[in-house]
């Protein structure tokens, strides 16, 4: 069976969920071979093998952290040359898309970004994408060269499928050209202790209706009662009420949770672009005419400062 390269997104060997989803999708096309760059390959290999990786190709070099993106492309290209895969799958993060883009140019392959589903087809993998703020669904494939496909988080439920997960060292030469952009300093983000926005099963977002940074704890409390991630509209982010890393929408994160709760958000097209594929959508807004209500499975026309705290209490009570 043809091999499929899966680029691993991890933090020091702790594999992030979207990678497990990729392994699940990769198994529909061929045999997953994981590419793990940086430290922690042994730790990662256990989880990767459990989810179907027959092999884990790994390399660690200081250049991966010292320079932006390009050294990782050198390594992924080395894996590509070692394996000659039927496809290369990369998680659709900002960096993942850039890595995929450069790899596609190098190997003369075609690229599809932000796939939300993947299946085997007669002429290679077929990717489903959601376009124009999720108002259209397309099916595409790469027609020339090896397909390089980036896949959005929450595109599949990770399935266990035990495989060997044998760790193999990958020989990588990092070219001089790949050392063009120096990472002078790096300030890691502090963890909020809440689930990762793009990976969360439930997201609770606040918008301009929240009225100020001092009121965001109202949104956070609801999120915590549900074990949810917190999101924000661009209006709330631009006002400085919540960090940009939490922005949902066209120029923020694109989320696809089981449940999305929008409080004090009008539902502009650019916001929809990032949440419209959520399975269940709930909105709380005091304006009955707000466009967000066109999308909802359940909506409450009301003041979020009444509804949200009461809902939080109600959930806490029900959960005991």
């Amino acid at each position: 069976m043809a091999e499929v390269l899966v680029y691993v997104d991890h933090v020091d060997g702790a594999v992030r969920k979207p990678t497990l989803e990729l392994l699940t999708l990769a198994r529909r096309i061929g045999e997953p071979v994981a590419v793990h760059l940086g430290p922690g390959a042994e730790q990662a290999a256990a989880v990767l093998g459990e989810h179907g990786a027959v092999k884990v190709l790994t390399a660690d070099a200081p250049e991966f952290a010292e320079y932006l993106v390009a050294p990782k492309v050198d390594a992924l290209q080395a894996a590509y040359e070692a394996v000659s895969p039927a496809a290369v799958l990369v998680p659709s993060s900002a960096e993942g898309k850039e890595i995929a883009a450069r790899l596609a140019i190098r190997i003369g392959g075609g690229i599809i970004t932000d796939a939300v589903d993947l299946e085997a087809g007669a002429e290679g993998p077929v990717a489903t994408q959601s376009v124009f703020a999720a108002s259209f669904t397309t099916k595409s494939r790469v027609s020339k060269g090896t397909p390089v496909i980036t896949v959005k988080p929450n595109s599949a439920a990770p399935e266990a499928a035990p495989a060997a997960g044998t760790v193999e060292q990958l020989a990588v030469t990092i070219g001089e050209k790949s050392k063009g952009t120096k990472v002078v300093s790096r300030t890691p983000r502090e963890s909020t202790g809440r689930p990762e926005l793009t990976e969360a099963a439930i997201v609770v977002s606040g918008g301009r209706g929240v009225g100020g940074a001092e009121n965001f704890p109202v949104i956070e409390a609801l999120a915590d009662s549900l074990g949810a991630a917190v999101g924000a509209s661009r209006a709330a982010v631009d006002a400085g009420w919540y960090p940009h890393t939490h922005q949902v929408g066209q120029t923020g994160k694109s989320v696809s949770p089981q449940l999305y709760i929008a409080a004090g958000i009008s539902g502009a097209i650019q916001h929809r672009a990032g949440m419209q594929t959520s399975k269940t959508i709930v909105a709380i807004n005091k304006d009955a005419e707000a466009p967000i209500f066109e999308l909802v499975d359940y909506g409450v026309v009301g003041d979020l400062f009444d509804v949200v705290p009461q809902l939080t209490e109600e959930i806490k009570t029900r959960k005991g």
Binding site: V69, S93, K97, E98, I99, A101, R102, I105, R106, G109, G110, I111, I112, T113, D114, V126, S130, A133, A134, S135, F136, T137, T138, K139, S140, R141, S143, G145, G180, T181, K182, V183, V184, S185, R186, R189, L226, H244, Q258, I269, Q270, T280, V282, I284, F293, E294, L295, V296, D297, Y298, V300, V301, G302, D306, V307, Q310, L311, E313, R318, K319
Partner: protein, 261 residues
């Protein structure tokens, strides 16, 4: 020496309009109102600020697109760019990202550059891959997704706010930069700017000017094929209740029914 800045801008269908596909499953650009991608306005803005800081600079705005894409160039010129280049050719219809990056690379080489500035993504395709592809093709440093950027002493520095960390980046010119919508509001063209833009030069190029064969681009030459595009069924109208004291309870009931609590 004058700093030669090329800003890549895209003409896109208005996102607030009714965007759809043409019969050949390419984005319909004829039937819908278009404009300069809002995300590329940030690129023009940062280029203007960098040029202001430089002793001497010249900004060329570059677009690949149909006849109407000239509107996007005019807008950028009226914001303050110096000249424009429009790559237009019937054979470009249906070109995908890989093909577009080839044309952009040839076009910036034709123009001459020290710094290439792009937006973070186009608002229609929204792949956010072209700046990285351009850097790859031209063998240049990629300094992308910056929320802050400056150029000094032949170096570009900037801040990239990623998911896991915020990074301070540095590269020697020439380089490819992309900026996010966090980089600072784009200016509105002034009346004077709009008038001046009418007199600024717009060079038109076709594929043969750039030495590109028709079969390397376009729908036929594309590396990807769209086989199907279906309009997403409108979400079935849900239940909307008005809170008269019971709203939260009713919502909790719904969430419990869906097994979220």
């Amino acid at each position: 020496m004058s700093l030669r800045i090329v800003v890549c801008v895209k003409y896109v269908p208005d996102a607030t309009g009714d965007r759809h596909f043409a019969e050949d499953l390419t984005v319909d650009r004829d039937d819908v109102d278009g404009l300069l991608s809002e995300l590329d306005e940030y690129a023009v803005e940062q280029a203007l600020q960098i040029a202001d800081e430089a002793d001497e600079a010249e900004i060329t705005v570059l677009t690949i697109g149909p006849e109407d894409a000239k509107d996007a160039l005019r807008k950028a010129l009226s914001m303050g760019a110096d000249k424009a280049v429009h790559v237009e050719d019937d054979d470009l219809h249906g070109t995908d990202a890989v093909g577009t990056s080839l044309v952009l690379a040839k076009a910036v080489e034709h123009i001459g550059y020290d710094l290439i500035v792009c937006g973070m993504a186009s608002t229609d395709g929204g792949m956010g891959v072209l700046p990285a592809m351009l850097a790859e093709r031209l063998g240049l440093p990629q300094v992308t997704l910056l929320s802050e950027v400056s150029v000094e002493d032949g170096k570009v520095t900037g801040r990239r706010d990623g998911d896991a960390a915020s990074e301070q980046l540095e590269a020697a010119l020439p380089a490819v930069v992309s900026v996010t919508d966090q980089s600072g509001e784009a200016r509105y063209p002034s009346f004077k700017g709009i008038m001046a833009a009418k007199k600024k030069p717009v060079e038109s190029l076709d594929l043969s000017d750039l030495g590109i064969e028709a079969d390397e681009v376009g729908l036929e030459g594309a590396w990807t094929a769209v086989d199907e595009a279906t309009e997403r069924p409108a979400r079935t109208a849900g239940t909307v209740v008005t809170d008269e004291g019971e709203g939260a309870k009713q919502l909790a009931e719904f969430l419990a029914g869906q097994k979220f609590i």
